[in-house]
């Protein structure tokens, strides 16, 4: 496991004159860090890692701390630190009091870390030491080693047969004419080059990890030059030299997605067949969808006209030259502009065909990682199944990799957690996506009204469709062919113009996204801006509820209860276990407020909203609006 280099120490709570915090950076384990005075509440040090990495292990050398907790964060975000390693015990009370065993070392691996956090990359590490049992010692750490995930382990999965090393698949398949084929394809398909660029970038990044100077192009020429590497799956190398050479090769191998490298002929043929089969089905739906959008956008009354005229609508997606890749969105505007409405007619069918391939049903929601809130089983399970069948990922709890929150109603704990960070949609989004077999823009299903109406930019308006028309779209069945015709509205020209406008916006979005690997499933959604927190955020955080005693209604579900408790404690409020104690505030549900008031008439019963809103606005809000009458 490679040891991660700690760049510098960002901050610390205190340090001893001799045992300074910087000592942690030195590999000399005799140099330690201790807090300044004995009996401090806790000792904190924040480290900056050289680069963001997935942390696979931490070795901690103790210096008289009873508990050590490790939290992580990224320097780019304003998000709070997340717990990576929960407070872990290094000394028992007895040991602490007698100062025995003060330098215990514990080695933590991924199994010890908190679940979603352990798979993410982090570049800030905060270590919190506490020593509640002995108030007469300075405590801290003697050393800390942070290990990154070991990629080499994965790369060295070579197969050994005695002295021989089996070489894995060649990245290039050298069927006759395949080189030309490839070149042709690259020219014709600019998306592939985009993909290649991304791959290139990521692979070289990975390569630099190993410090291996071997780069991809060289490798390619090397392998293509050797005729023995034909379609055979491996070649056997006996000499020491060659096996050495093969090592970087193998690594590179891992970085390729094999399919990307291969000529697509066969697949294409298969796809073509399947495409044609699906075409009839999908075509209709797609047309309908477009029409719906049209309907909504133009407030003009539809006049019964030739159905074919409606097809120009479909221009929105693609030009004929782009291959059947999803990225076709990126297609040049100008090509599109050139088209006459006749042209467009022809293309319409092609486009639909392409889309069928671009997003098979099982990959419709590719790139979507969703979390469900406020919906109970069996509905929850059903929704989850819907999402999974469309290629989305599911996580029980929100983390940085999540994109959508399927939420039943506003202000659930998860809602508040995700607000401003992710897309919060109603469950109908998933259900409609599934029933209409397409990925619908999320904003029209936004749970939060502010999300729905956000930013009067053009594409937002297009997507902002009120629910009646939504229902409409759901209700239309495939047989509505006459509608299709009706909908072929009056001014084709005008419509084309409008669509092209949309297209341009869409492309901008695409470009924005293009440096992320998400490009293939990028949709037109706009990320909501991340809220900026005031710089004195952490200080405020301390005292919002200071000197207040809280009682939290135990009939809240556990999650809500814990969350409330966490927020209240985080803002220095005190949580009391007994409703009859001296309490300032009772957080409860409406139905319990009366009885709780009876139990403790001195306290005020408030709705949990108050806590969330205080948190959201970062100040102590007047309670009037939250008191139960």
């Amino acid at each position: 496991m490679p040891k991660l280099k700690i760049d510098h120490i960002i901050s610390f709570s205190s340090e001893d004159a001799v045992h300074v915090a910087n000592n942690i950076l030195t590999s000399d384990s005799s140099k330690k860090w201790k807090c300044q005075t004995a009996g401090e509440k806790n000792a904190v040090v924040v480290l900056q890692l050289e680069k963001a990495s997935v942390i696979s292990g931490i070795d901690i050398g103790n210096e008289h701390s009873a508990y050590v907790e490790v939290l992580v964060s990224r320097s780019g975000t304003t998000e709070d630190y997340k717990v990576l390693l929960v407070a872990s015990s290094f000394m028992t009370p007895l040991e602490a009091r007698q100062s025995q065993n003060v330098n215990k070392v514990r080695m933590f691996t991924k199994d010890h870390f908190s679940k979603p956090e352990c798979d993410e990359k982090w570049d800030r590490v905060k270590i919190v030491c506490t020593q509640p049992f002995n108030k007469h010692v300075q405590y801290g750490l003697s050393f800390i080693n942070i290990h990154a995930t070991d990629n080499k382990a994965a790369a060295s999965t070579q197969v050994h047969i005695g002295k021989f090393i089996l070489r894995p698949d060649s990245p290039d398949r050298l069927a006759a004419g395949s080189l030309f084929e490839r070149q042709k394809q690259q020219k014709q398909d600019e998306k592939l080059t985009a993909a290649a660029a991304i791959r290139e970038a990521s692979s070289s990044a990975l390569l630099s990890l190993y410090g291996s100077p071997v780069c991809k192009p060289k490798l390619k020429s090397e392998s293509s030059a050797s005729p023995s590497n034909s379609k055979a799956d491996f070649a056997v190398h006996s000499s020491e030299n060659q096996s050495e050479e093969s090592k970087p090769r193998n690594r590179n191998e891992l970085l390729y997605i094999k399919d990307e490298e291969e000529p697509n002929d066969k697949i294409d043929k298969i796809m073509e067949k399947k495409k044609q089969e699906d075409e009839m089905k999908q075509d209709k739906e797609r047309m309908r969808k477009k029409k719906e959008e049209e309907l909504k956008r133009s407030n003009k009354k539809e006049k019964g006209e030739n159905g074919q005229n409606s097809k120009p609508v479909d221009v929105s997606a693609n030009s004929p030259s782009s291959s059947r890749r999803k990225e076709s969105k990126k297609v040049d505007d100008t090509t599109r502009k050139r088209k006459t409405s006749d042209d467009v007619k022809r293309n319409a069918t092609k486009r639909t065909r392409k889309d069928v391939i671009a997003k098979p049903f099982a990959k419709l929601l590719e790139g979507v990682t969703l979390v469900i809130s406020g919906i109970q089983n069996p509905d929850r399970g059903n929704l989850r199944t819907l999402a999974l069948t469309m290629g989305a990922k599911y996580k029980p709890d929100w983390d940085n990799t999540c994109t959508h929150l399927i939420c039943a109603f506003a202000n659930t704990p998860k809602f508040n957690q995700v607000k401003g960070k992710g897309k919060i949609v109603k469950r109908t989004w998933l259900e409609d996506c599934h029933s209409q077999r397409k990925r619908l823009p999320w904003r029209r299903y936004a749970l939060d009204r502010s999300d729905m109406n956000k930013e009067e930019s053009e594409d937002e308006i297009c997507e902002k469709i009120d629910s009646p028309s939504n229902n409409h779209s759901v209700n239309i069945s495939d047989s509505d062919t006459d509608l299709e015709q009706n909908d072929g509205a009056s001014d084709t020209e005008e419509r084309i113009a409008r669509i092209q406008e949309m297209q341009r916006i869409e492309q901008k979005e695409c470009d924005k996204l293009s440096d992320s690997p998400d490009i293939y499933c990028a949709d037109t959604d706009e990320e909501s801006p991340i809220e900026k927190l005031p710089s004195n955020f952490t200080e405020n955080l301390r005292n919002l509820f200071a000197d207040k005693n809280f009682y939290i209604d135990q009939s809240f579900d556990l999650e809500t209860y814990n969350k409330l408790l966490k927020y209240i404690v985080a803002y220095n409020g005190k949580s009391v276990d007994d409703p009859t104690d001296s309490i300032d505030v009772i957080i409860t549900k409406k139905e319990n407020s009366e009885s709780l008031n009876e139990v403790n008439s001195a306290a005020t019963c408030l709705s949990p909203e108050w806590v969330w809103d205080c948190h959201n606005s970062q100040k102590l809000l007047p309670i009037d609006a939250y008191v139960y009458k």
Partner: protein, 333 residues
């Protein structure tokens, strides 16, 4: 915990405790208002430990856990010798019926409500409609009278020695503790709460796929020797049932829990109670930066996330970690 809490008629405020307990039961079973229930229970425990007779509501008010409303009720009781609220409750036949039905083990407030709705208002009627009941409830009904009886301390001692003898023969390393009010030194208890562990049985072995038959074997052994007579439910970690010492003794409610070794002492602490003491203990733990439950004691991190469970080898350890003066089970009122 048993359905009936032992009430002690030696204390000077005995009558207050009685009517407050009744109100508590009413809140729990009929209105299902757990907060009012807790408030009344708290008041009862305060009054029960108060050394002198309370002579006025105002005097009671000064005690922790008695507020305006309860003080008023005490005043009313002192002045009129009765309580209008309680009278009203008594005069309502539904309430009485629900209260009666919930005395059967396995029948909670919700089931009692639905039974009353169906017109079953007494134990007698219930005996005629056993088709609506689960196995657990049927057994509860069969031994209804027995289960209502308090178990004298001496009888539990005998049962304890039987269990010990049987199980030690099975595996000498088994640790057996009878918790509940028995462990707190009470003269009689409502049921028998037994915790069992084995040094080789730790929580990291619990999730393993293969089934754990330890508890089943224990129960089988106790059945063979004739102690266990009924099984209400039996899982991998919890047995609920009934036992009978011999023909002269009534059938008694017996619970056996198989606890991982590392959680044993937290569990003993929890099941020894009393519930009020547990509340106090947990509050204290939070003050000291720990979180305590029946499984573990864990330090709380800076963001409120509980840490890894601390190692505990005795009940005293828990008190020690929390810097809380140790209280013997008998002192945990």
């Amino acid at each position: 915990m048993g359905k009936r809490k032992a009430s002690d008629d030696t204390n000077p405020n005995h009558d207050f405790c009685e009517f407050l307990s009744e109100l508590a039961e009413y809140e729990k079973n009929v209105t299902r208002d757990i907060h009012r229930y807790s408030a009344y229970r708290k008041a009862v425990s305060v009054l029960a430990s108060h050394p002198t007779r309370i002579t006025s509501g105002d005097e009671a008010r000064k005690l922790k856990g008695i507020g305006e409303k309860i003080a008023k009720k005490i005043d009313e009781f002192l002045q009129t010798g009765k309580l209008r609220k309680l009278e009203a409750i008594h005069s309502d036949s539904t309430n009485a019926a629900i209260n009666e039905l919930t005395r059967v083990t396995g029948i909670g407030p919700a089931k009692a409500h639905s039974l009353v709705k169906e017109g079953i208002t007494s134990i007698e009627e219930l005996r005629k409609h056993t088709d609506k009941l689960t196995h657990h409830q049927i057994v509860g009904l069969r031994h209804f009278e027995d289960f209502e009886k308090k178990i004298p301390r001496q009888e539990i001692e005998q049962i304890e020695s039987v269990i010990n003898k049987e199980l030690k023969a099975m595996d000498h390393d088994l640790k057996i503790t009878i918790c509940g009010s028995y462990r707190r030194g009470k003269a009689e208890s409502g049921d028998i709460d037994t915790l069992i562990t084995h040094p080789n049985f730790t929580s990291d072995k619990v999730d393993k796929k293969h089934k754990n038959n330890m508890l089943k074997n224990i129960v089988t052994a106790l059945e063979k020797c004739g102690l266990v007579t009924e099984t209400l439910s039996l899982g991998e970690s919890k047995f609920m049932g009934a036992c009978k010492l011999d023909l002269e003794h009534p059938t008694r409610r017996l619970d056996i829990r198989l606890i991982p070794y590392d959680q044993y002492y937290c569990c003993i602490l929890y099941f020894t109670g009393s519930d009020m003491f547990n509340k106090e203990m947990r509050t204290h733990a939070l003050e000291k930066g720990f979180t305590l439950n029946e499984y573990a004691l864990r330090p709380v991190g800076v963001t409120g996330v509980p840490g890894e469970p601390v190692e505990i080898h005795s009940e005293e350890d828990i008190f020690d970690y929390m810097d809380f003066p140790y209280k013997k089970p008998e002192e945990r009122g």
